[in-house]
Symmetry: C2
Subunit: 314 residues, 2 copies
């Protein structure tokens, strides 16, 4: 049985901050990132790729609104929009990963699987929705939409408008973790858990598997999948080469290595903000504490280089 590495692509791996998100830009970025992954295969790892979907599902939600307004096409709920984004992004990564493999004459199958993730419907996150999704609205629109759809809105901290917020419950189980494991055992590269997975739960009365309007943090879902398949390494790709303390201050310092205890200490001291490095540190801690050997937080450009990024271990 080969060792397994899980690599969580950041948004930037597909769509850079300074781009509008044309398909040409996304394909080029994806190919660049996939080419970097060959180094991990060369080290003898089987590969699972997970990815975010923020900009893409944001665009799908906007198109949903526009399509209803212009053509009265029924709007799809969030679960279908996330599933759509898993399809489109998964396909793009699969095709570009095949191109990266072909360029290096590596023969491997690549497969993108649609991923549902079980959550606990009693998760306290449902009492306090925090995850902004979809378009910005002016206050009056937000109030109207909130009333008619039973949605909750919050004002953007940077005053760009009001956005719908949904709960971000903890991932409990990646539903097809056994399937992902079976595929990796066969030597296939698997793309899974896109956008943190589609949150679902077993309804206690109907005993039906139901969808719920929520968003799971993609790094936490990736850490859970990495644990479930028994991965040895868990790479979290982000904008920076290494995790820093005193980030953006004169005494900013890059870290080569953190123990779980050190990472937790810095986290508790507020070194890692909730919207960016915070969830990645938590995901890394969760992976290592559940038995993983090493979590590595680094940038796409560093991937595969010796001693890249910040290593988090026990």
């Amino acid at each position: 049985m080969n060792k397994i590495a899980v690599v969580a692509f950041g948004g930037n791996a597909l769509l850079r901050a300074n781009e509008v998100g044309t398909i040409e830009e996304q394909e080029k970025n994806t190919l660049d990132t996939c080419e970097k992954l060959i180094a991990i295969l060369d080290q003898g790892y089987e590969l699972i790729i997970t990815h975010g979907n923020g900009p893409q599902v944001g665009n799908i939600l906007l198109r949903n609104e526009a399509g209803y307004k212009e053509f009265k096409i029924p709007k799809m709920p969030l679960d279908i929009c996330v599933a759509d984004s898993q399809g489109g992004i998964g396909y793009m990564i699969e095709r570009q990963m095949r191109n990266a493999l072909n360029k290096k004459n590596v023969s491997k199958n690549v497969v993108a699987v649609i991923t549902q993730v079980l959550i606990d419907i009693n998760d306290s996150a449902f009492e306090n929705p925090t995850k902004p999704i979809g378009p910005y609205y002016i206050k009056e629109e937000a109030e109207l939409l909130g009333k008619s759809n039973n949605w909750i809105f919050q004002e953007d901290p940077r005053k760009r408008g009001w956005r719908r917020v949904v709960p971000s419950p903890k991932p409990m189980e990646v539903m097809n973790n056994q399937v992902v494991r079976d595929l990796v055992d066969k030597g296939h590269i698997v793309i899974a858990a896109g956008g943190g997975g589609i949150p679902v739960y077993w309804h206690s009365d109907t005993r039906y598997l139901e969808a719920i309007e929520a968003v799971i943090d993609k790094d936490l879902a990736s850490a859970l999948l990495a644990k479930e398949v028994g991965a040895e390494k868990f790479y979290i790709i982000t904008d920076v080469r290494k995790v820093c303390v005193n980030f953006n201050k004169p005494d900013q310092k890059e870290l080569d290595h953190l123990t779980v205890a050190e990472a937790q200490k810095y986290y508790d001291a507020g070194e890692f903000p909730a919207g960016s490095m915070g969830p990645k540190i938590l995901a890394a801690i969760q992976f290592v504490e559940s038995g993983g050997k090493e979590a590595i937080i680094t940038s796409e450009a560093e991937l595969g280089k010796k001693n890249c990024g910040t290593r988090i271990t026990l």
Copy 2:
């Protein structure tokens, strides 16, 4: 090794002709159809589900237009739209199949895989685009769009307007047929080849796997996948209980059985129109001629009943 059955869902399995396509309608229809599939599992078959995407990708294309018009969101090309639809529909079938299994206390994994299908870029279909996709336009709009995008438009035979037509090349290979086979070998139910798959080809100069604006017939792609995985039975689900000759005429006659030779003879005599039964008959012939034991064309309501539908054999 268990026997394999491939079931190709028709559009009606998800979205009925008299419905607008709300998510509630689609979920209900999908669950109904999935419940019928339990009978096939009970007969000892492993199951692969394929499906169309016509109404769903039609809506995605309309939202694409509306999103660009309203918010200037970059339009996605057809391959991404098809991949999106594979994600959304695959997820919906997976979740409802899990519900159908749960109701009957059958324990099985269900997994939807995004599917690319190789085509031949020299296929003669590229000289004569025939497959209508996306919205209807008035003539002047169609001419404008045709010029600016290098698209070809045709007037709808029922005079509902002008629609873009794309080529419908022959499927040459389902790229992940080995992956689908591996999953079925493990006893998982697999959802694949949605909308006929995303057509791709290896560019002879760049050696890159490239997308192409085209649509593969979903029954032909399903027949190919059924052959590639060595399926014994291939069900094609449609609106009618059985294939008919003299369809909609006073002497209309339902057929219980057709040999491949008889099917071909009726096809050549123009009994099966190109837009409806024709491609299904061709797909059934292709499956049986390539070694499959039996193709069955029937309606969702008949599925699992003894001697359901029209059987096509050698």
